[in-house]
Symmetry: D3
Subunit: 340 residues, 6 copies
């Protein structure tokens, strides 16, 4: 079964360990991006995962292609051209010091791409599922239009369409996000989000004040928010991640899925964070994998949260875990014991 994802993959530059920017003269140079993270995670689950973007010619763009190819992602539909790849500088936080993310992604190949770069009929050949996130339309009006064409065609061809709201205040305003996402969600079956995204993008106010920074979660508010969002677009499923940031080193992590009738909650994990980047993306990938394989909503949210829980223990944006490893945790073994 083939899943297509579409978005921007960037060069990620990150100091070693917990160093601040330029505290020494070395940087980790890897690649990542919300949709690429989903594509890699799916490939690691054994799914035929096709990733679509535009990347410049030359060794820097090729580095991004190769980083995906390494995991078996199908890169044959990636358009090549343009001047540069987007870059983001990431600094890992610890304890009370939060992570820092600085974008240098203007004028990237994908941001300056046009409809001619993508033949969606060809791209969707053999595909069962199409996934995108709210970052993709935020890249520009042109990219939004490319994406809109894609979701419409996907819908028409009978693919399941999923999205992760992923609101990025550094990329667009709430107003622009609402306008674009409202149109796109019409063609979207499954919406992944968290309560903040729902508020930022669609103005869904869960009523009870949810003090995310203070670390308290209000399940009633979450259900209200998910319910409103589901109704807004008649989505088949709305899935929420519930993160409690105790501090940059410890988070609680849980998921919930709403099928228009019932709310299913996963187990809640207390996580010692190795790297939280890509946590939400690994949740989406887990959800897609499960539903694609005919699992129930309850099973899907359990698998998705276990997958993303494991992601937090892995360096980098990509979730390098197998289905067996996720299922072991989902079945309750989080003891971290060694088998010898």
């Amino acid at each position: 079964m083939r899943v297509v994802t579409f978005g921007e993959i960037m060069l990620k530059l990150q100091p070693e360990g917990y160093l601040r920017f330029f505290q020494n003269d070395k940087m980790l140079a890897t690649f990542g991006g919300a949709e690429a993270n989903v594509a890699v995670s799916l490939a690691n689950f054994g799914v035929d995962s096709r990733y679509v973007t535009k990347l410049p010619e030359g060794p820097i763009g090729q580095g991004a292609v190769n980083s995906l190819r390494y995991f078996g992602v199908d890169v044959s539909k990636i358009a090549r051209g343009g001047d540069r790849i987007g870059i983001y500088f990431a600094e890992k936080g610890a304890s009370q010091r939060g992570s820092v993310c600085i974008y240098d992604r203007d004028n990237s190949a994908i941001k300056k791409s046009s409809k001619e770069d993508f033949d969606w009929n060809d791209i969707f050949d053999g595909a069962d599922w199409f996934h995108y996130t709210g970052i993709t339309p935020a890249l520009g009006r042109n990219v939004y239009e490319i994406l809109l064409e894609a979701v419409k065609l996907a819908k028409k061809k009978g693919l399941t369409v999923s999205c992760d709201l992923n609101y990025r205040s550094k990329l667009w305003s709430r107003e622009s996000a609402r306008e674009a996402m409202t149109e796109l969600c019409k063609y979207t079956d499954i919406i992944c989000a968290n309560e903040e995204d729902a508020k930022d993008v669609f103005g869904i106010n869960a009523g009870a004040a949810t003090d995310v920074k203070g670390g308290k979660l209000d399940l009633a508010g979450y259900e209200k928010s998910a319910s409103e969002l589901q109704k807004m677009f008649g989505a088949k499923y709305v899935a929420y991640t519930l993160r409690t940031s105790i501090n940059a080193s410890e988070n609680e992590w849980q998921g919930m899925i709403f099928d228009g009738k019932d709310f299913f909650y996963s187990k809640k994990y207390l996580i010692h964070i190795v790297d939280r980047v890509g946590g939400g993306d690994s949740f989406s990938a887990g959800l897609i994998y499960s539903l694609l394989n005919g699992k129930s909503a309850r099973e899907a949210v359990s698998f998705a949260v276990a997958a993303s829980c494991l992601k937090h223990s892995i360096e980098g944006d990509f979730n390098m875990v197998s289905v067996a490893e996720v299922e072991k945790l989902a079945k309750g073994d989080g003891s971290g014991r060694v088998v010898r």
Copy 2:
């Protein structure tokens, strides 16, 4: 006072930090093995520590020899020859992701060794103590027979004989383990184990379900298990480590010793794990050091658990701590403050 240990030392290949296998192109290349870990720990306590194994000629085998020599372990009785050193690939877990251990130890020099390789009369010259673990006889019938000859001679020459059950399901079946260990334990004065080993090797069922993965320990069950094990062989001491795996980053750690009459418990430590490999071996070493130096059972278990608690804060298989450092912790200073 001289302690002899006998077993397999392997080349250990481990990704840096918390990386998964081949997440980058570097690996830590060190050496370790249960009995070698005990030997190094004893050398660090100032004991005259003689380690016996078989290693191939050439720079790879020599690397293992040198790694022991570095700590002052007596390597003069190591047999040389054979085709290869055993290898194990180790990946360090974190949070809910457990550590991974992959063996590539077939056809190692020690596995293919024969009685002619070891002159136990010479090896035991000047020795007071002989220690082995359940891994050594699991290496093959030939190694079991070499070991049996050794324990018999050790007993005859008046050495104290100790073992750590250390059941490895990847090396042999429970049935084979039971048969071999039953014979070996007849000549063994002091048995280190945990409740799982006792169940796996000797079928000792502690009755009350002890949910190790769930993190709950049942002291009554532990006592029942240790008591049965002690009776089975009339051992002078049976010592248990009690690990509660909260997750791969946090464990509780405690020890208990049974002298056939009384159960002595150490303090329980909550450990932030740097590296848990070698935890049990450092416990054995602490116990041997204490009893060799005439400490009481109560003192010995307190020292052994403090030693192995410190091991969890040290990278690699070897416990690089001094007697003074262990005693400082055993006496109650676990604050981690700096003296300046």
Copy 3:
């Protein structure tokens, strides 16, 4: 506004990560010292920060100068000459294993410096504040006398004078410390300390046993101690850091300031430690910055503790945080969330 600090900056040699000394063949080679740490932290807050010491000619001494210049510290008044820079070997602890600090600082340039090396009239040109710690006079009678001349002149020229008691048992006896600090504190407006320093240096016994290693803090005792200290010298402010060392990986951290009338407490933070070296120095810097900028005692202790809380999440001795980052935490956001 210009702050002058005076003390010893050393070459710091530290194994990578949590390795023990010489566990591999690499060491981090950076520079640090209590007063230099304060100077760098102030420069990072945008203060005109002038640091005074003596360093040998040649690339090793120049390395220290450059490490300060990197952050914009004014190094123009550093004397050059002498034979060597002091060195300290530092090993980072974890869990129950404490950090280790080994000094090799005898015969350093600053220890062998003389009055002729420093023209305090010139050094204090344009300065508003002078800061030193109890380490500086501990370097030798000659350094004490240089410092005494400096504080007297500072006082005379109307600078605010602050100190951090920083008692170092490896450098001098309690008797020597008391004699020197009693004289110096006469010219000191603001004294930073903790309860142990107050006891070690001035014999102030807070009455109630405060079991620092056991992790319990007695606020009444702290107030009694600070109050006595304040009265002893008529200091404008006495500020205390209250550290509870749970273990080498987790500490609680709080601050208190006494203005001769009221005790103001900061929030208490539970810290996952990345590196605790320089924690006290970052507190002093935060306090100086705040008071220099006309903040109230309550605001100052809140800022100082937030600053030093962040220091614990940063590798190395220097606190690399901005005023904005400190204020964000002081205002209550310690969730470590990423802004994207």
Copy 4:
């Protein structure tokens, strides 16, 4: 156009830089093998490159698969199973100190593979070319037979078949090599070799003593050797690499091709060696690429030698150069100037 290669890919463990084995605790852990090196080089030239081997299940075997997939090599026909991957320890020489290569490849998955593991009809689907080296049949009688079946079928299906003699004295005797290679070469169109291989495998004595270690090359002897080899099997082309090992840091490197009538020589390069492993493999890849694309023998040897000259400037076994880079050098620009 599709090229199929078949052989063993191993885990390569190598100390950093010019360190001797275990001089520090780190090793580069990459993958390589003569035929895999050819496959990767071809993929880097844009060829549809399919690599066939057998690798164990699990993360170590998967690491090898991913390392090929990274470069776009088609790994879909790799058989999975068996117990282990072959390992080789490599130490890089310098100046008068030669490189060291220690094999630990017994019992590898490919060595224990059987005919059932490979469906050559399926593997050759769409293929134009089949390449192997003398290392593959040296892995064992079973692998020789698998290979013999493959070359016969390849021949039958009209593929061009090429081989590199690659005699490895550590793997088999000259007699075994001669017997196997004589049979295999019957179905081989193009033979890559050097004078030593021709002598070791086929006993071709070039007459004039060629003192390879002394650094002198005798072109007449080379021509005689190549001529005999060509006649022996009626090969379409025999191509020789001519290496003069001045020392481990400097080599001269040249190539020659014989079409049964004329000898064509490439330019001779004086190389400052970064890494010479894979030098011969990159020559084979360059030759295959050129001939596959209809180049003349003269052009082919020029391209192949330029490609392998560049390989010597690249770390690791794989030749990471593009066609454009090779052509730039082949056309005469070896100045190493930067284009800015």
Copy 5:
């Protein structure tokens, strides 16, 4: 004596050692740029060196500022603002493989700067010399105009003005270069160049074909070229670097200066290259230092070439050598012996 330089400093991302881009996951992240390189080299010679550019706010721009401050460069006149810092990806060549340089410098702060960003009257306060290179006007019409204003004012205020032609074909055409440089050179006293630059920018054809790539230099052609260039602008001095690229690992390096009457040649060095980036910049810095300190043309070219010869043995763009080290080489000791 104060020297002002003006240009673009970029973030430089470079794989470790001789690795190709993304051959592993690490990159060196340093800062460099032709004029900044000159400024740092001058600071290392003890000159009061003021560097002018525009850099974005935030930690990435600050990293560039700090990297200059580290060497004592005066950064007080650097404008802050704009969106990004220019980036360049650099791959170090070896043997026949040339270095690769990929620019991602569009839309950098300095490229989008305006006249308001620079108060040249203030910048030139206390200055004796102004230096720029041909890269600065290539950044855009706006930057050219800023620079033109600067050189005019410098001239008017009596500063010595020097430039390095530094033609970059990736930044502008020969026509644009000629137009801009013709105007700028009117106000320039000393022109550094090489024969290629003179041809590219001013169309000066040295007559005899100089085959730079082939490694032959034609001194007569060089003299003709320098002579024409000198006449064109009536420059006080024209100084040429004469590089013979034997390959990427070995270059010959010499300098020549023409005072309108005589040609003075430095010694010629055969260099084993560690890093050739910044070679020309270190020549300019050596020349400026010498002439600023009243050395003769002969002495200046000797010092400048020795300085830049040493630069080739140093990693990174910055020439980290002292006047004493340069003079030692200029006086003839290139034996590389250790003084102990």
Copy 6:
């Protein structure tokens, strides 16, 4: 056969690769010293090698002990005590940039040692040979006297005594050296030196100007110098190393031995230097090994020069080569080819 060496082992701090001091924040931290280098080299040749020095208690001194123990050096006679270990900072040169060596060795344990620290009767138990260098008596009058006692006793007990003149101008004057070495050489059978040492220490002027820095060697002058030296003390052998420093990356290296009658020259090697530190020490070790094993003077100088030639290809002070590797080179194979 047992060889005893006596001297100072220091902590060596060296930037990575060719970096200048503090160019990044890492340093290699290893141990070395002329006599320790000889001791390790001998241990690597299989000799029973006993090294004598004094080192401080604690982990830094223990690091030095362990670094020797790693190679099997007998460390049982090392005295422990004192305040510090000597340190030396080393920067590796390249091309025209020479290596830099900065000592921080005052007040080291060995420098402050006294006769009571060494029981030479016990130390020489079972010994056949005693080796020292001119660095040892340069450490201070006390160390000279300890050494004098040792050489006298060695002579009396019939040991062969050898020394390497090793003049260090940073440690003592030529006058002091002459006085001390004249007395010590009376008891010395074999003197290793180079022409400069002979001139510096004993004022032996070889007549013809030998321009070492310019790279020309005058064999006649060498012979005259060696001859004078031999006569001065009636030494059994005088052995000279003949280094031509072409630059810091390339040296020529040859040896000569004089038996009072004939001059035997080794082959001359052109070396691409990896690390030249310890070159002379590895020559001494090669000579001692050969003569100890009854080789002729001709064979000894050939082996010694081959050994030290290989040392130049190895990182660090210790010569990590086996007898077989040296003999392979001495027999003429310097091609650096790989055996596979």
